[in-house]
């Protein structure tokens, strides 16, 4: 057999499919910047929200949260957060807000110097954090732009009551009326059903990829996963997202068949709770370099959800109200207990994200439950998902070092291999 017919060997490290992300992002950015000339309205939408309905109206959806994460990865967020503070915003609020507002106030950003295009419409949901609603209130006054808030009333820690679901469905109908009014189009329910089929498919693929991470060694780690979730966040409901995750899944299955992991020498498998540090993703690389792989996490799962096209608005309501981040601390702990067992987890890293009280408020309580009931090694460090000001890598690495040694002692009885995390720091 000639060498040209041999299969390309699979190596540990980032997935090859990850390289396709650039093209997907580029295409999306181009569409966004062409939207006004092509007559497509741009809507700013909160991230865990019914994007599918807006897609059915052919609205270009932009997500300021995603944009803020991009600013962070391009090392612009620190300056933008500072600018927002000069405009009177507290440094203690969500740094997605500070970063995106600061970019708007400064009138520049990471798109070759340009910031996110202005919205024509604003849509937010009230089923997640208070920040969403207050942020979008302020956006509507800043841009003098029509706003629709999808209200949600529900309690946590129990089953979704019928009245809560009905109220959300009523609100979704209100959203449809709002979009019909502002786009001069009627909702094409068949189109919405098709979009839900695609969104459902993309979510199934995502969850299946997540399931394969149970394998030892894990075929894909946190560094890839937090990047690969972009189509799920922005483009769920599109064929692009489905095609992409089919490729990712194919590659993941190949790795699993050949027992190739995300890291060459997988020593420890961890949960990362919850936000990565978008301004310093290299932190995850440092972990992988010393054989620590993020085998599972909940962050990406927030953007996945199952739909029943036979009941579009009803299943949209159920999917968006069954958002794990709205569980009680016991609820979240039980999810993690299952993850620890099924994903063969050695330890948990809690990123106590000052910029998101919605996610971080229960974290200490969840850690307390897991410590009591599982006794698993864990470490918690305070950080910020977007704002790099105040980030001390030395402190974080020193805590992670101690954590790795804790896992080592638990697994091997001693520190077998002295490794310094971040040894090739730049």
């Amino acid at each position: 057999m000639s060498s040209s017919n041999q299969e390309k060997p699979i190596a540990p490290g980032p997935l090859e499919a990850a390289a396709k992300m650039k093209a997907i992002s580029k295409q999306y950015d181009e569409e966004m910047f062409r939207a006004k000339e092509t007559g497509r309205p741009i809507a700013y939408l909160t991230s865990v929200a019914p994007v599918e309905i807006l897609q059915a109206f052919d609205i270009l959806v932009a997500m300021p949260e995603n944009y803020a994460a991009l600013c962070a990865s391009r090392k612009m967020a620190g300056e933008f957060c500072d600018i927002s503070e000069q405009y009177g915003y507290s440094g203690d609020i969500c740094s997605y807000v500070l970063s995106s507002f600061g970019s708007e106030f400064a009138n520049r950003g990471p798109y070759d110097g340009e910031s996110l295009p202005d919205p024509d419409l604003l849509v937010c949901t009230d089923h997640a954090c208070n920040t969403f609603v207050k942020w979008w209130q302020n956006l509507s006054e800043h841009y003098r732009c029509p706003l629709f808030t999808v209200d949600a009333a529900y309690t946590v820690g129990g089953t979704l009551k019928e009245e809560y679901r009905e109220y959300f469905v009523t609100e979704l109908k209100g959203l449809v009326s709002f979009l019909e009014e502002h786009t001069a189009k009627k909702l094409d329910m068949d189109r919405l059903r098709d979009i839900l089929v695609l969104s459902d498919k993309a979510s199934r693929l995502w969850l299946e990829i997540g399931d394969y991470r149970k394998t030892v060694p894990a075929p894909v780690g946190g560094l890839d996963i937090f990047t690969l979730m972009l189509p799920l966040v922005l483009l769920r409901g599109t064929q692009t997202a489905v095609d992409f995750y089919q490729e990712v899944l194919k590659e993941v299955k190949e790795r699993v068949a050949k027992k190739i992991g995300a890291v060459p020498d997988e020593r420890f498998r961890i949960i990362w709770d919850t936000f990565p540090l978008f301004h310093r993703m290299r932190l995850l690389k440092y972990l992988e370099d010393v054989g620590v792989v993020v085998a599972t996490d909940l962050y990406g799962d927030a953007f996945s959800g199952r739909f029943d096209p036979a009941d579009p608005l009803g299943s949209l309501a159920e999917r968006y109200m069954n958002y794990y981040a709205c569980s009680s601390s016991r609820g979240k702990a039980e999810i993690y207990k299952k993850r620890v067992r099924d994903w063969h987890i050695d330890g948990i890293i809690y990123h106590s994200n000052r910029a998101c009280r919605f996610y971080s408020a229960q974290q200490t309580a969840v850690a307390h439950i897991l410590e009591d009931e599982l006794g698993l090694p864990s470490v918690m460090f305070e950080g910020n998902m977007t704002d790099p000001r105040g980030y001390s890598e030395d402190q974080v690495l020193s805590r992670l070092q101690a954590f790795i040694e804790m896992m080592e002692v638990r697994k091997y009885g001693t520190v077998k291999k002295k490794i310094e995390i971040g040894f090739d720091r730049k």
């Binding site: 969500c94 954090c129 942020w135 009523t170 016991r330 408020a361």
Partner: protein
Amino acid sequence: MTVSEFYKKYRNRHQLAKRLKQSGKKIFGYFCLCTPQELIYAADIVPVRIRGSMDEPTLANAFLPGFVCCYQRSCLHEALAGNYGYLDGVIFSQRCDINRDIGGIWAENVKIPYSWQFAMPRKHNESAIDMFAQELGLFKSSLEQYCGHELSDESLRQAIDVYNKNRSLRRQVYQLFLEDVPPLLGSQVFEIMMSGLIMPKEEHSKMLSTLLGDLPSRGKTGNNPRLLVTGNTLENIEVLRTVERCGGEIVIDDFCFGTRDCWRQVDHNSDPLRSIAEYYLSKRIPGPCTDSLQRKRIGHILELVEDYRVQGVIQISQHYCDNYLFETPVLHGRLKEQGVPMLNMEIDDTEVTLARIEANVQAFIEMLK
């Protein structure tokens, strides 16, 4: 009766509660002022607002990070320290992120015989009121099961009357400050309003009636700038006394337990449960966490500024309240349009530095003069 009697009751709130228990009363604690207290009252249970303290909340640190609501951290500390062991139940609301989360944390770590969390829409339209009335119907059923008898429409109307009377008396206290020389200090009004949170409403109304019938008189006050104080919750009254020592005349407030809680009344109509739902959802002056897009709270502040001839606004909010933090630049801008300066101070009741507050307030008042 002197004004100081009110604050004495507040400071001795736990002893007061224990005496009520000894007399056979049940007590439910709540956090958020959008809790429908009339329903609890109709079940012959005394609703009291759970309060923190000025002690360092060390016990809560095991369950909450340092950058969340100081009030909730302090309340959790008080509960873990056993200071709320007398509560027969605790009511949680869904309206703010922390309030929603805290229910699960209390359930895991504090022994509570009965608890209920109620959902609350953010919108104030008919559909939202219908939804909230349904939700309160569920709460009512739960209370009926707890207390073993029906909460009739008559009992709800009676509860509405008791609470409306108290609201009316509290509003009368605020009306005293329309005068150039009010008979009370703003910090004394704070004491009066805080005391109403921890005792049966009839008792508070009786004290208010006595006070209003026999008001003290103050001498000439000087030309102190008239101030409105706004904020979420406040435990440390010295903060307000500092403002007064610096020469500020606090003439009105926009606290959740202050004017917001007594400016409007529950309507009487054929469906008292719906009236209660409508009051707490759309009639009561909302705080930032329950406010609709109409910015009713800011509208309320601007009306008070005009009616009470306010020259400056001081916001004193507890650290890390996202709802306030988002609204602050907007409030600042709206007041600026009216030519009213605003001083914003974030504090943590458990670690207040009065000297720093004095320096900020002094400079603000000098500027107003």
